[in-house]
Symmetry: C2
């Protein structure tokens, strides 16, 4: 069965989408079959993988609201081995539209599980979440096996972490007993900057092994790549950003071997 | 009457809170009486101005959900001339709690307007919004005179701008006819980086005078200041970040003179 990872953190701009795109592409580069589900109404992961905003007839909105079959909203990307379920801005009304649905927290889980596993020959399914602990992120937490938490090496980013950990525990106790933290990923790390070093020391001290040994450095090639609609692995394979995400993929694959 | 500015952008991590805190402090430094309303459940603006998470008995949650008087949730900060309405994580359930309230979009506007203007001797009221176009941000758009849009000098940030402009137009047509865009503020600008220059060129070309002439440079002192619970003006008054926000305050005051 595929390993389902939600990339989540309600703090904005911490590198969720950048991690979802480049980790998915790194898994695919190592030969795994990967599906990326874009659950953010901003649709940055879809854009970053070359799906134009006008070309998203079928999207994660249909999956959650119209309960269509997962297979019908999956499409190929330019990257071999990497498929995507794109998102549109319609998704931003999901909270309101699903308010009276008693099973509103497990719609995504059921959509993935209903599809016969034989059809879903993916080794990894990644879910890119919006910057909020809303119904969309909760659906991802209920559907997934593990949560990957990008942690920007900044003061405000640390502040939100305990709230996120509380929400994860609540979902584990009420809806998804197998939910665990896949790991905490330090992002936009700048070795010359005290704040980054301090955040890393604090995180490793308080969270120990939960923190990945791989650290993603601040690297302008990571922020340039999406404007060319490609992962950094294709945009600049020799960059520090590309190497860091490949090493993250290896670290996760080794943990799950 | 006070000038009410919402600091909003659904894209995460673009500098909303950093702008709300430091612009408010810069207005106060120039002698204005300022109120900052924290409408983000993350409570970063409250933390950045020294209100501990355990010390927020009265908050913007009470204002929206229990409809208490605005005066009762206002408190002083360490900064002369700057008061705050702090926020707590309870605010994250506002969408759901207010779903059946027909006037749910104008609760904040009514709370501000109900308070007799004589009592509210503020020249500026700033509202820090969460990274979403949800009920909290819509309340800010309905309550305010102008929207200040921080625009990170990055590709993904440009992508969300047209959606935000559409939402602003919709609020102007349905709930707040006087709503206008106070300005678009380039943030985390790095003059050595092509992407920053490109975003600036695009923004000034497409949006013209809407873009403030003041640009906020990427400056580590801005991200260090909140860990000392103070605006950058007090943490490092000679820094590029402090000078930039003072110049923004002057630019806005001159536009509104
Ligand atoms: N390691 C990095 N080095 C440099 N820039 C980065 C890095 N990671 C992400 N970025 C850039 O920082 C910005 C924020 O990253 P991203 O959009 O991935 O965060 P996010 O958490 O998905 O944001 P949101 O909360 O809006 O969904 C983007 O413009 C991205 O290109
Ligand atoms: N000009 C700047 N230079 C350097 N760092 C900055 C600058 N502006 C903001 N930051 C840092 O970048 C991070 C994101 O900024 P901030 O939290 O203000 O954005 P936001 O839009 O309020 O985020 P959210 O969407 O989560 O509310 C913070 O850690 C902040 O300290
Ligand atoms: Mg994102
Ligand atoms: Mg903020």
């Amino acid at each position: 069965a595929p390993k389902i990872l939600a990339v989540a953190n309600q703090k904005g701009g911490v590198g969720k989408t950048t991690t979802a795109i480049n980790l998915a592409a790194s898994f695919a580069r190592s030969g795994a079959a990967v599906l990326l589900i874009d659950l953010d109404p901003q649709g940055n992961a879809s854009t970053g993988l070359g799906i134009a905003a006008t070309d998203r007839e079928k999207s994660s909105y249909d999956l959650l609201i119209d309960k269509v079959n997962l297979q019908s909203v999956i499409r190929r990307t330019e990257i071999a081995g990497l498929d995507i379920v794109p998102s549109t801005v319609d998704l931003s009304s999901a909270d309101i539209e699903l308010i009276s649905n008693e099973k509103r927290l497990s719609i995504l889980r059921d959509a993935i599980r209903l599809t016969s596993i034989k059809e879903l020959e993916y080794q990894y399914i990644l879910i890119d979440c919006p910057p909020s602990l809303n119904l969309l992120t909760l659906n991802a937490l209920v559907a997934c096996d593990g949560v990957l938490i990008p942690l920007q090496s900044e003061f405000f980013a640390l502040e939100g972490l305990s709230q996120l950990m509380l929400s994860i525990r609540e979902v584990r106790q009420t809806a998804n007993p197998d939910l665990r933290i896949e790991g905490i990923l330090l992002t936009m790390y700048d070795a010359r900057n005290n704040l980054s070093q301090q955040v890393e020391t604090d995180a490793r001290h308080n969270l120990g092994d939960l923190v990945f040994s791989t650290v993603i450095p601040r690297n302008v090639r990571l922020s340039e790549a999406p404007s060319f609609a490609m992962p950094v692995l294709d945009y600049d394979p020799k960059s520090k950003g590309a190497k860091a995400y490949l090493s993250l993929a290896e670290e996760i694959m080794a943990r799950n071997a």
